[in-house]
Amino acid sequence: MNDDPAVDAPIDDEPYRQALSALVDNELSPKECAALIGRVAGDPSAATRISSYRAQNSALKALFPAGGGAMAPLLIARRPGWTARAGAAAVWLGCGLALGLMAGWLRADFGERPSFASDADLAYAVYAPEQRHAVEVPVADEQHLLAWLSKRLDRTLSIPSLREHGYFLLGGRLLPGPNGPAAQFMYENASGQRLTLYITAANGRPGAMRAMHEANGQSTYYWVDGGMGYALSGRAAREDLRSMAVDVCGALGGRPEIWR
């Protein structure tokens, strides 16, 4: 930054350095300011600091612009009570975000993980590495797969497409779960990476999408909607997995107005 070593030598006088910082941040009283200016005038290393600190601020703002990048849609669950009651689903739109009101959010267990999320995580770890038996019913039999799993879960299921993200359905399987049967759909991309979508009945309150990240790089994004728990698991980059989970949730939620 500066070729003169004297100018760039560390300033060991801590109060002095703090005052230089405070000058940059307009945190000095007029009196302190006047006193400091006198000292800085004869000190090139102080002038270097002031311009360096200012440059750091501008660089940070350039690195992290507010509103930079596309905003992911958000689903915010709330406790009933502050405005309309449940059912009257109002939607706020702002900065490309949608805040959906959902019924039944109680309280206290903020961040508690429903068991289906861990089950989904585990099921991914067990079946995703399977080469020959990754699925019970292959995609060639998609109609049968859907009819069968819909019957077992007692709800009309649909399988969201992840083609846009480069993932294709391999098929699905039925799994046991604490709240009855669970369906696991498996997807794969061209490089053999796999994702699973896990669906089961869930008693949890409808809530925002949450994530759990394992140390091995496996992540699961999960949410509850309409008495069902959904979880998308994989080892894709978090941001990719998250945006796929948002798409899946939009495709399955039955209330896309909350999401878009």
Binding site: M1, N2, P10, I11, D12, E14, R17, Q18, L20, S21, A22, D25, E27, R49, S52, Y53, A55, Q56, N57, S58, A59, L60, K61, A62, L63, F64, P65, A66, G67, G68, G69, M71, A72, L74, I76, A77, R78, R79, W82, W92, G94, C95, L97, L99, W105, R107, F110, G111, A208, M209, R210, A211, H213, E214, A215, A237, R238, E239, L241, R242
Partner: protein, 175 residues
């Protein structure tokens, strides 16, 4: 403006701060979402007229610390270094290469990084930053000063990436 719309209006700020703090866009989105949700569910704890931005940043920070701790307990990534997104642009601002600034930022200890971001990026006053961090104003000043001096010396090194000299010069333990 209603409380909700004020929170919504601040979401891009929360996201920016979370991104700068974690160095990871997806983690930042998760943090922003958790913070927004917590804020909307705790609106009764909000005192009208006080600084909403500082209140939200405080919540975000607590969530971040919780998540860091959990990750650490799970044997995951401790330092935060691994979470840096890819390279910053080579673009120059005020004579500084953004890439070098980014690199230096994630070499700061977390307590220095957060104070630098609150004041330098979010433009909080020292008093507001002290409230967000739960520390005295004087500690804000000393951490900030150390952070900036450290950034300055990291970037004065050749290319900031592979310093010719050991990076650590004089490091005093805080307080």
């Amino acid at each position: 403006m209603s409380f909700e719309s004020e929170v919504v209006a601040l979401l891009p700020v929360l996201r920016r701060y979370a991104h700068a703090l974690t160095g990871n866009a997806a983690w930042a989105d998760d943090l922003m979402q958790d913070t927004a949700e917590r804020a909307l569910n705790r609106r009764l704890k909000w005192r009208a007229g006080s600084n909403l931005k500082a209140w939200l940043l405080t919540m975000l920070r607590h969530l971040y610390i919780d998540q860091l701790r959990k990750q650490h307990d799970a044997g995951g990534h401790g330092s935060g270094m691994q979470w840096r997104d890819g390279e910053a642009p080579r673009e120059q601002v005020d004579g500084l290469l953004l890439r070098d600034v980014q690199r230096a930022l994630y070499r700061l200890p977390i307590d220095q990084r957060e104070v630098l971001l609150l004041v330098g990026l979010e433009e909080l006053s020292y008093q507001e930053a002290a409230a967000v961090l739960g520390i005295p104003r004087g500690t804000v000043m000393s951490r900030l000063s150390r952070a900036r001096e450290r950034m300055h010396s990291l970037m004065s090194e050749d290319g900031a990436g592979e310093p010719k000299q050991p990076v650590l010069k004089v490091v005093r333990s805080p307080r």
